[in-house]
Symmetry: C2
Subunit: 110 residues, 2 copies
Amino acid sequence: MRRPRSTIAVHAPVFAALGDPTRLRLVAVLCAGGALSTAQLTAGTAITRQAVTKHLEVLADAGLVRDVRQGRERLWELEPSRIDEARCALDAISQQWDQALARLKQVVER
Amino acid sequence: MRRPRSTIAVHAPVFAALGDPTRLRLVAVLCAGGALSTAQLTAGTAITRQAVTKHLEVLADAGLVRDVRQGRERLWELEPSRIDEARCALDAISQQWDQALARLKQVVER
DNA sequence: GCTCAAGGCAACCATGGGGTTGCATATTTA
DNA sequence: TAAATATGCAACCCCATGGTTGCCTTGAGC
């Protein structure tokens, strides 16, 4: 329970940000739709604009999303650089799991 | 903001479970160490056994981990079937992000 | 049977997170 | 300029979550 401490400190906030249904949905929408304003992202949601704003800022703090001011609008888009880091984190865990699965199979089939 | 609702409902809890540093560390330890007892997982931690138990049960509720009683011990191990589902979720999001990245590059390089 | 170690259970606490309302501010646009 | 739109800010609420302590139960080993 020692080695991956730094890795964990980096990746846990990303998972935490993705761990809310509303935020995961926002990410999905931004994946599909490019840059959208706060109002656009609020439309079709059952919650308030302020609540959506809070969620978007959580995603921004996790580095998953970025906001650009344009006139009176605040446009939100995926953060490309951080997204790749997040992908690496996911891949790392996937590989760990692969190895664990391989070990389990060995044990079972022995 | 409509289509991926069911997918999201399934995957968000998994990310939420991984979104805590303590739990992410527990998963890493179990990846590396096979089945370990609650006491073993608590050793080396700054928190109480009961706290560790709560975290492990959160992971179990998310389907990431499973417990097996053995004598007076409670052994914890990764849940193979659910782990694969989680991997699929991660891959799905990775692909979404890949597509989003591709679109972004097209826009930038245009 | 006794003793010790591993857990279970329940109560309790503090904080943070998800949401809301109300009102002020800044841009468009007619 | 006036009206309408898109946000910002701050206070406030409620409850889930991460943690703790205290005490009881159960299995292992002598």
